[in-house]
Symmetry: C2
Subunit: 447 residues, 2 copies
């Protein structure tokens, strides 16, 4: 695809400079990180190993100023986990504890299940219906190209455990917030609101959740034995890995891009988020290998995104005072970019038009609405940094997200190459634009 496009792209990019051809950097990074490091849970030795791997690889690629910026964070680790229906139809279920889940005693607990089809139904339930029971919440999440169904159904993971805890539930099981039908549960953090005691909280795989739903539909009381022994291990070190392509004019501000280095512990974090590292690194490499940019590109492989965006917070604390011209994050898998959104101070600008024209060449259309960045660059976006979202196709993202199935084979090299090309075009455009990329007013209350 690149070879066919080059002549056209050459015309359109002639006012600045050509994006360098996509290097093999992208797929190599996903392959190397997932093979030689594997899972890299935030705050663990595996994540530290991943940082060393990152420094080695980023230096070898020729980036400047490669270094680790450490920070501390609380660390949650998985224990044993099992669930078995005791009555009316004895059988084991496959599940995974949610990040920050409380623990059962070593020998587990047995209790009756009370089921709810939605977060709203659980919220509306009287305390007496829930107290001492194991809550089960299911849902009907389906796949969407823009990933918007995660916004609709994600709160079942984020918020339902707190609601169940406040009503006195013994534990909570949710149907995995996922769109596949495999026996691979989807983990992810849950957030305990102030005053909510952490209770055991886990996600059933989708087939197991449907099985439990069918069993409940038989109308007989359902009892379950649940064992979950995760624990908080206290404060540990994580860190961000930083690399740069120095610009010729520091007064024009930094272009901050990146993804996150940590993964959940069940898979090897290929789509979440070795792919994002690959895309942003390959795009930065295309700048490094091309004419020297006006603006500095700062590439960050953020630590500890999954448990709550600790890397992004640490970055904003350390660098929030520096002038940032723009930020963008890749944390939505390795599939193709199909659209983009930009939040600039000016609703209309030559820069926006140029981006639209150049990106449309490879099938990427402009969308209206606000860009958000991602969890890692979110604090900088909140401060008013202009931001571009290159929207990747999320149709199969939540089939794999936060599961043991997040492995290298889920990467489609052709789609990854397209995403790298889109990022390379965007990046070359913004590092050299004459647009001042003035800051926006700070945002409120957005993560």
């Amino acid at each position: 695809m690149h070879k066919i496009l080059t002549p056209i792209a050459a015309i359109l990019l002639s006012s600045t400079a050509l994006a360098a051809p996509p290097s093999p950097t992208g797929y190599d990074i996903v392959e190397g990180l997932t093979t030689e490091v594997g899972q890299r849970l935030a705050g663990t030795e595996a994540e530290a190993h991943a940082r060393d791997w990152a420094v080695m690889r980023l230096k070898a690629l020729g980036f400047a100023n490669v270094h680790i910026e450490p920070f501390d964070m609380p660390v949650w680790v998985r224990g044993t986990e099992s669930a078995e229906i005791l009555a009316p139809y004895p059988q084991k279920l496959v599940l995974a504890a949610l990040g920050n889940s409380g623990a059962t005693p070593e020998r587990g607990i047995s209790a009756e299940i009370v089921g709810f089809p939605s977060l709203e139904a659980l919220s509306a339930a009287p305390e007496a219906a829930v107290k001492g029971k194991i809550v089960f919440v299911w849902h009907r999440m389906t796949a969407t190209q823009d990933g918007s169904s995660y916004g609709t159904y994600g709160p079942i993971r984020f918020a339902a455990p707190t609601i169940a805890s406040k009503k006195g539930a013994a534990a909570i099981l949710i149907r995995s917030v996922g769109t596949d039908h495999h026996r691979v549960p989807h983990t992810g953090v849950t957030d305990w609101a102030k005053g909510a005691k952490p209770i055991p909280a886990a996600a059933l795989s989708v087939p197991d959740a449907e099985q439990l739903e069918r069993i409940l539909a038989r109308g007989k009381p359902v009892s379950l034995h649940l064992t979950l022994t995760p624990r908080m291990t206290g404060t540990r070190q994580s860190g961000n890995v930083v690399a740069e392509v120095p610009g010729t004019d520091p007064t024009t501000g930094i272009v901050l891009i990146g993804g996150h280095l940590d993964s959940w512990d069940l898979g090897t974090g290929a789509i979440d988020d070795a792919a994002g590292l690959a895309i942003t690194t390959a795009a930065a490499k295309s700048i490094l290998d091309g004419p020297r940019p006006k603006r500095t590109v700062r590439l960050v492989w953020f630590g500890a995104e999954e448990p709550g965006g600790f890397g992004g917070e640490a970055y904003a604390k350390a660098h929030g005072g520096e002038k940032h011209a723009l930020t963008a994050e890749a944390d939505f898998g390795g599939d193709k970019v199909w659209s983009f959104r930009a939040s600039f101070a000016q609703p209309k600008s030559a820069l926006r038009d140029t981006l639209a024209t150049r990106l449309s060449l490879i099938g990427v259309q402009p969308l209206s609405g606000e860009a958000h960045g991602g969890t890692d660059v979110g604090p900088m976006v909140q401060k008013g940094t202009p931001v571009i979202d290159l929207e990747q196709d999320g149709t199969r993202y939540f089939d794999i997200h936060h599961t043991a199935d997040d492995t290298l084979d889920k990467i489609d090299p052709a789609q990854l190459a397209q995403a790298i090309e889109a990022w390379s075009i965007m990046l070359r455009t913004v590092v050299d634009t004459d647009d001042t990329l003035a800051p926006l007013p700070p945002r409120k209350g957005e993560e």
Copy 2:
């Protein structure tokens, strides 16, 4: 589909009688058995529970002579199982012991990995290359409509463990004999040849096998810690569940059909083989609900197929002396029938032509070559019983086969209904045919 075809089918079936419309019996059986019983490993309490469920359901459907025929068998059960690469890239791998696997000590074993791309490469390896090591055999199995790739790659599971054992290997890991890319390993029996000591033997999920293959390709020595604690529990009881549709003329011989009631322990056995029970039972029910057949239909839900066809052997021992006109088995999932093969004493016959004409109406074409039945009816086929194979589409069968993913959601109700229709047409044709269905010469050495 049925309503559209009925007028045409009516003309073609007018010489005998119409197949009754497909009843809801099919999907209901898969749903009920997988939900209310779940996994049903041969020789365990779960399989006994499944037999009780079967008797209850078959009686409720109105079949005659519903009863259990018990038999004894040796029982293997899974223990704990884990694998962890120690060097050069420490990480856990997902695997499942093969049926009849030997055990490691409780604390596991650590050894170097020696990898082979095929069974042939392992066979050719000198003993010194294997002795004391953990053998790893991979392969490139891909999906096939007729399931023939299982014939090509299946021996990696059946035979490689014996070869590794005879060369003094400490253990063997194989790439799952499966065509998916999920972290759900494919179990299944391995056969220890005479004189081969059972060693620990397990299947890695396909993504894990590919990961190990990549790591080996780095060229550094790879060491692994393996723990597998399965055990033989001694002799236990299994059994076949038998039900009949009595025919008007016992001298014309029995038509024996069925599938198997036991499943592997990882999934709930929806495609393997609740689907086969559903298809054959719904077809038998169409005979029960139609005009009384000339031949008796004997429907058997065989026990203990997976560990080695114990139910089929017990059946042949008990009933081999009775006159059987024909046999057919459904043990290849719940997807549509696309072709059929028949082994009759006469290579050309009016019966064969009638079957071809009637089945072609619903997209089922005749194929040349021998029919084989399946493991359960295999001993009767060996004795010379005429046999028809209704070939189901196996394209996705080995994505799911013998894994935790073998669950209800993998059943496509529309394809299941087509398979039931094909079986109903075939069964109505053979129960009433004037063809004598003379026995064939006994076969040699076929399972």
